[in-house]
Symmetry: C2
Subunit: 141 residues, 2 copies
DNA sequence: TAAATTTGCTTGCAAATTGCAAGTGTAAAT
DNA sequence: ATTTACACTTGCAATTTGCAAGCAAATTTA
């Protein structure tokens, strides 16, 4: 068993910001969520390939953590039994507004890549619409 | 000089989520921001007292980090030269929508305290209004 | 005005978390 | 039947966080 799991058993305080950070406030968890949410990545290999600098043991333990926190679930992959299809739960999908605001904030103050720019453009045009349509897509998985 | 400073020199990738996490994606930075943003805390002592479990060296280095990232600035305290008045910059104030969404998300899935509940109530009633009026208050400091 | 207290830190060391490189078992492709 | 793909695990090093103590300058108290 992997020993890199973060202590997410107890909340540090009853503050929602603190609680949120307890769940996904590390360097990698939210990037996995982002990959699932915006870029249709759903397998260990896709995550590993997308976040090239993540250590494989950390990726593995984050997937366990996120599943235990109820943000993602493991499903059978339609194409192969060797693969696992990771899927966002409703609780995970509900992080979309946070991801959206993070995109808007960072885009205002930093250079961002082309894929993020596309998302940013849609968010600026119609944030609520983007969240709604994206939510619908994710629910159908 | 304190050696606990996080390496925020280079972005891991041009992704806005990754960039955001590089700036404030640790266990404490955003709690300092929250204290300034929602609860009118502005000094080292107020932060230390509010986040009782934060180590003093970590608090000190986070304040340095946040200043270097341009989210906060050091000002003279009106009451005393022994105190330092930490103030949110525009870049810091612009994190308010993220803080707001985090409150809404955590309140949906976890128990939160009374002060957070008040904020939550206002956000549910009129999110845009809350952000606007709070922004105005913070700018006047 | 001298002593005690408040304030915002620093220092040294221990504990926890993350990162790296290599390896393992099962499923699928050749 | 053998090689490759996939999802991990393992052991150890490096980085980050946490704890306890200490310290200088400003302020309050006696």
């Amino acid at each position: 068993m992997n020993k890199n799991t973060i202590n997410r058993g107890v909340q540090r305080s009853p503050c929602p910001i603190s609680t949120s950070l307890d769940i996904w406030g590390d360097k990698w968890s939210l990037l996995i969520i982002r990959d699932m949410m915006l870029f249709n990545k759903n397998t260990y290999g896709e995550f590993s390939n997308s976040m090239k600098k993540i250590a494989t043991n950390i990726l593995a333990s984050r997937l366990v953590d996120l599943e235990q926190s109820g943000l993602i679930s493991k499903e059978e992959h339609p194409d192969s039994k060797a693969k696992i299809f990771y899927k966002l739960t409703q609780k995970g999908i509900d992080l979309l507004p946070i991801i959206a605001e993070m995109n808007l904030w960072a885009a205002k103050y930093y250079e961002i890549g082309p894929k993020a720019k596309e998302v940013n453009k849609m968010l600026k045009k119609d944030k609520a619409g983007f969240i709604k349509s994206r939510t619908a897509v994710l629910k159908k998985l």
